[in-house]
Subunit: 138 residues, 3 copies
């Protein structure tokens, strides 16, 4: 069995944003030499997500507006802010969008349907944060 590990670093200049990381994950897979297995990609921070959806800016605007409605930014509104934080909403938004994806690796490629792309979802940005790529297989 082979394994491969790499961290991907980000510094999103705004509080919230989506970054298409599919090319970086594909580069990891090529570097791993793994042809058959599973590829885990997860946010290493609890106010960020890794998720799979469409690379379409209108849809990303819909996600932004929808998440703001389900879990609004509110510096006064969360018990978590007693610790001095102001990012309670980011923990909830990341919960909706998910921490991780697991992608099949087949014939040395990410085994994707026609529109699947991997995104890093930032909900408390303006600082350096990271995701983990771990691939196992042979």
């Amino acid at each position: 069995m082979k394994t491969y590990r790499r961290e991907l670093w980000f510094e999103v200049p705004t509080r919230r944003g989506f970054v298409n990381i599919t090319p970086q994950v594909e580069a990891c897979l090529a570097a791993s030499g793994i042809r058959e297995g599973l590829c885990l990609v997860n946010a290493m921070h609890i106010t960020a997500s890794v998720f799979i959806n469409d690379n379409e800016p209108g849809l990303h605007g819909d996600f932004e507006r929808w998440l703001e409605n389900l879990a609004p930014f509110d510096p006064e509104g969360y018990q978590h802010h007693r610790t001095g934080e102001d990012n309670g909403d980011a923990h909830l938004k990341r919960t909706i969008m998910g921490r991780e994806v697991v992608v099949a690796v087949t014939g040395g490629k990410l085994d994707f349907g026609p529109w699947e792309q991997i995104f890093y979802g930032e909900f408390d940005g303006r600082r350096r944060k990271r995701s983990l790529v771990k691939i196992i297989g042979e």
Copy 2:
């Protein structure tokens, strides 16, 4: 290490529906000959889900009503529709329900609790779509 891959195809005749795919995943596992490992099942489309819950029609009705409330079908209401699509709600519903499940394989069986069943969740049906089963182990 052994690996196994198969696509499961669906054509749900309505816009939305849930299909119990547990027997098909069990058949994949039997065909794989894998006794110990992990089984990934994921939607290959970004307007569909694979999730684990109860095989109870009343609960499925509750999911339907709840998702419609959290992410309503609305041909006018999403920025995504500027592309000509009308399925913005389906991308959001799938996000709530999840893209994938990872199931332990133990002794040649899906290692499930008493009520766990795997469902394909369709949110933009009336056309042929598919899920992926990838199993690794030995």
Copy 3:
């Protein structure tokens, strides 16, 4: 390839609660002898979750209040209750929080960011229930 399996049992004395299970999962990993691979932790019940977030009581209060708003406890309000159950809300809450996490194993450790901790999320407690830890690798 090595594999390891263990069930973790809980009896949360209230209907809802969060239990930090990181030390138990770390003990499983140590017992497995696996240094590189993947660790799956999933609820075996469909009214409970396993998720990763911050070990901060204020945030847990925020999760509780937020979930109650998105999927309220309501003995009269769910079709699922025609079966005699009163836990329809618990199925929906678990869907938001997720069934499972997959964690990378690197150098014999759970490969975590600075604040990641694993929680069992109970939404229909006051009885014995369990989660599954399955680790594969070498």
